[in-house]
């Protein structure tokens, strides 16, 4: 392990030849689990750098997390963050179209990207001797992307096809999109990350150029490197590759908090499904909220695995559902706990909802048992450990918590918080968040049923 004096000496050497914007400052060291140390550095132009040395395999994972997601879009321009993620694999000032992917592949890279409500991230995992190439390619596209009309037009069509695949022809995707659009009226979480189809098809090259100039800058990004690297060489390379980029003036985000919901919203639609489906969205606190860990465990008690209360009840005992699950949103702002269920045979979505309501009333009136809580915690712990097996999954974990919470090692703090939860905590959050008046309900009928051929919405 290096000392602070070692680090200072190292940075003196690195900074001796770095451009002004690339001068590296050491910020802090923090534990990442019980065995590893995560180091934070910052370049003068605002680029955050997080390094986790891990020589368990001769590979390196390099992630670039931008603090821009679909929440930063506006009405009429939805889906721009995601479309832009696609465009980032195109031509740059120093690389003809296609060269980025070709060079990555020839380096043996596993390379991809993703966009969600709060962020956009690009990842490349390479054999360790290929790390310099990734630094060159990622820094190149942060500042020197070239946007041309034919590529933008083609990529819009690809994204439209992705939307058809994930939403328009996918019942579960379509239901989730409708649920969020029903639950949110003011906050930017109300539109889907992939965007509305008419917005995708209407984007212009200048829309994309403006988005790039606004959000793709070193002071709006964090580079996360995990794996078997040589620290001084890497920091020197980062300083040189990113150091000439100026910091941008980032726009003030026009956040519109969602007003309190005081009555249930209910929508009924028909889709080509084999049976009824149900989706329910309950209000969920932000990931950084004190209540989020308790709600995560409550969700596990109710829906986590076959021994959970509602899977057991709906799938096994009553045999009225083929599957039921809940997802607790891990977002920067308050989001949704998204409950989805598929009815079995001729059973109706309302039957499922009645059973769910009964069980929710029970967890709001009496505390769950310590044994249930312990099992929920064990399931979470197993999931977390299995998510830390590769350099790439560690980089994802670090980048995610850094971008959403500003705390790159928060995965372990969260585990500690989960371990502190008691049945009383779960009772408290059940009463606070499982509120029927603040939920949105989507009922889906198989096409051809009489019950709901068109969208009907109950007014609030």
């Amino acid at each position: 392990m290096s000392t602070l004096a070692d680090t200072e000496a190292l940075l003196q050497r690195v900074n001796a030849k770095a451009p002004a914007g690339g001068r590296v400052q050491f910020v802090e060291t923090m534990p990442f689990g019980s065995k590893q140390q995560l180091e934070r550095y910052c370049l003068a132009n605002g680029l955050s750098v997080l390094l986790l040395f891990d020589d368990s395999a001769p590979v390196v994972s390099y992630h670039t997390w931008y603090r821009v997601g679909s929440r930063h879009e506006r009405v009429g321009k939805t889906g721009l963050a995601h479309l832009f993620e696609h465009l980032m694999f195109n031509e740059t000032e120093h690389l003809p179209a296609g060269d980025f992917d070709r060079k990555m592949e020839e380096a043996g890279a596993e390379s991809n990207a993703s966009t969600w409500l709060d962020w956009t991230q690009y990842n490349a995992a390479v054999p360790k001797d290929q790390l310099p190439l990734v630094v060159e390619l990622e820094s190149e596209r942060m500042a020197h992307l070239v946007l041309r009309e034919p590529q933008v037009a083609s990529e819009k069509e690809v994204v439209a096809n992705e939307r058809r695949y994930r939403v328009d022809d996918d019942v579960d995707g379509a239901i989730s999109e409708l649920l969020w659009a029903t639950a949110f009226k003011d906050h930017a979480y109300r539109w889907p990350t992939i965007g509305w189809m008419e917005d995708i098809q209407a984007f212009t090259t200048s829309d994309c150029e403006e988005f790039y100039r606004t959000y793709y800058s070193p002071n709006n990004a964090t580079v996360v490197v995990v794996g078997d690297f040589e620290r001084e060489a890497l920091l020197r390379h980062l300083a040189m590759a990113y150091g000439e980029m100026p910091a941008a003036v980032l726009p003030i985000e026009q956040v519109k908090p969602e007003p309190p919901q005081t009555a249930e919203r209910r929508v009924e639609i028909s889709k080509p499904t084999v049976s009824d489906k149900l989706a329910v969205g309950y209000r969920c606190p932000a990931l950084g909220d004190f209540d989020h860990p308790a709600l995560t465990l409550l969700s596990e008690v109710l829906f986590g695995g076959r021994a959970s209360r509602l899977v057991k009840k709906l799938v096994r005992e009553l045999e009225i559902a083929s599957e039921v699950r809940m997802f607790v949103g891990p977002f920067r702002d308050p989001g949704l706990m998204e409950l989805t269920a598929s009815a079995r045979d001729e059973h109706r979505a309302e039957e499922l909802l009645a059973v769910i309501d009964e069980e929710f009333a029970r967890v709001c009136s009496e505390a769950v048992s310590q044994a249930e809580l312990d099992r929920a915690l064990a399931r979470f712990e197993l999931g977390m450990l299995s998510g830390l097996e590769t350099a790439d999954s560690k980089a994802s974990t670090i980048g995610f918590y850094e971008t959403v919470l500003g705390e790159p090692g928060a995965a372990f703090a969260r585990l500690a918080s989960l371990r502190r939860q008691t049945p009383s905590d779960l009772l408290r959050v059940a009463r606070r968040y499982l509120v029927p008046e603040a939920r949105s309900v989507i009922l889906v009928r198989p096409s051809g049923d009489d019950a709901g051929d068109d969208v009907e919405e109950a007014a609030e």
Binding site: S56, A57, P58, V59, G98, D101, R102, E105, E106, A107, G108, A109, E110, A125, V126, P127, Q130, S154, E155, K156, E157, V158, A160, N161, E162, R164, Y165, D168, D169, V171, D172, T273, V274, S275, G304, G305, R306, A307, K312, V315, R316, E319, S322, S342, R344, D345, A371, D374, R375, A378, R379, E381, L382, L385, S386, L388, E389, T390, A391, S447
Partner: protein, 431 residues
């Protein structure tokens, strides 16, 4: 970190995380399900997992969750068994549970009936996935008459015919000590793994490895089209395939390399022509499956309904061009670089390394298949790659499966396929 691999034990020790991956497998799978009893191996293993130790399914689920473990029943054509992971502190109890799962299952009638009903509901739900439908009907029609074409999950008809006696016969057929292969990866040492292997073997009745008499599939003659008709589709799912390779073929690796040029990467021909140049489909690729017997080579894409026919026409043109003129030296050099360097991510965790060793055993791969992988990739010449395409791939004998709305796509798709021998329409809700 240490590794060992006997033919019935694979161990990859790594204590960096307090986690152990496990797999206890039998070298026989759904291919040996009796005719008319498709789904019996899957029912058997799931029932064993649920009712181990004479406990109820709920008691076993509570037990597994409480251990900080996950354990699933897995059934493929060539193997079946139980796999999962467990937090190290619970490994001894998980091993006890695995021994109970393997030994003398009671197979209670009530749980069997409940499991059958759940399976039927799951089969219904699968019809909602167009991708699953495309793959299902490709397998059924391409491997018609062969065990690879039989649904390992069964159908309503076959499930109805399976009773406890059939499951007991399945247990006696497959669950024998000599047929067991144990695989462990993670936070345990070789002696713990060796002791576990002994315990698990002793939980099974004695007996040898059943003979797998499955032959090579024959594929299809001519170009045949199957349209899986589903209403309200804005998009289609396309799978096009022919017979592929066997891992023991001398030109197996050469064909693998050549396929990577056609559709194995983002810069491959299919992705460049279909997605990058035309924006027709979010994904477009080709792959060579490997099983214990010869399997298929398939191309897939999912364009919107209006682009379906031109997309199929383009896929066929690209396949024919790849077949007729082969790959270039530059393409070969590029994919060799990709395949050899990216191999680092096939072996960067203990569980991945163990999984490769297990694959060699369960699929009867040539000894050292993965150990010599890089050398064999690097040895492929452009002449060998192109000869492998010529020898193994026959673009005149193809099955083309499309999931979409037949009234919209049917006519244009039939016109887009030169030398189409016959076509079939299957309603999407067919069991």
């Amino acid at each position: 970190m240490s590794a060992s691999a006997a033919r019935d034990l694979v161990v990859e020790a790594d204590s960096s995380l307090p986690l152990v991956h496990f797999s206890v497998s039998l070298r026989t799978g759904a291919a040996l399900d009796p005719l008319g009893a498709d789904g019996s191996s899957r029912l058997l293993t799931r029932l064993m997992r649920r009712t181990a130790g004479g406990r109820s399914a709920e008691q076993n689920d509570i037990l597994v969750d409480g251990l900080g473990a996950a354990c699933s029943a897995d059934v493929g054509s060539s193997s079946l068994g139980f796999s999962g992971m467990v937090i190290t502190r619970s490994l001894p109890k998980m091993l006890e549970l695995l021994a109970e799962i393997l030994s003398k299952p009671e197979l209670p009638e009530a749980e069997l009936q409940l499991l059958k009903r759940e399976t039927l509901a799951e089969l219904e739900q699968l019809k909602e996935s167009d991708k699953v439908l495309a793959r299902r009907w490709f397998a059924r029609r391409f491997f018609a008459g062969h065990s690879y074409g039989r649904p390992s999950a069964g159908t309503p008809t076959t499930l109805a015919s399976i009773d406890r006696a059939a499951l007991r016969q399945g247990y006696q057929r497959s669950f024998t000590a000599d047929n067991l292969v144990c695989c462990f990866a993670g936070d345990l040492d070789n002696s713990t793994a060796e002791a576990a292997r002994k315990t698990l073997k002793s939980a099974l009745p004695p007996g040898g490895v059943p003979v797998d008499t499955t032959g090579d599939p024959q594929g299809v003659n001519g170009r045949r089209l199957v349209i899986v008709d589903k209403p309200e589709r804005t998009q289609t799912q396309i799978v096009i395939g022919c017979l592929g390779t066997h891992t023991s073929d001398a030109d197996h690796v050469a064909l693998h390399v050549a396929n990577t040029v056609l559709g194995g990467t983002f810069t491959a021909r299919l992705m460049q022509e279909i997605r990058v140049k035309r924006g027709w489909s979010y994904g477009a690729n080709s792959s060579l499956a490997h099983e214990r017997r010869r399997h298929a080579m398939t191309m897939s894409a999912f364009p919107k309904a209006e682009d379906c026919a031109p997309c199929i026409a383009l896929q066929l043109q690209l396949l024919e061009a790849w077949h007729d003129t082969g790959i270039t030296q530059a393409e070969l050099d590029s994919v060799k670089s990709y395949l050899t360097r990216s191999h680092a991510f096939n072996i960067d965790t203990c569980s991945k390394r163990a999984s490769l060793s297990l694959d060699e055993i369960l699929y009867d791969l040539p000894a050292g298949y993965y150990k010599d992988y890089l050398a064999r990739i690097n040895a492929v010449t452009v002449e060998q790659a192109n000869a492998a395409i010529q020898k193994r791939i026959h673009p005149e004998n193809l099955l083309i499966v499309v999931v979409g709305t037949e009234s919209v796509i049917g006519g244009p798709v039939r016109e887009a396929i030169p030398n189409l021998a016959d076509s079939e329409i299957i309603p999407y809700d067919t069991d």
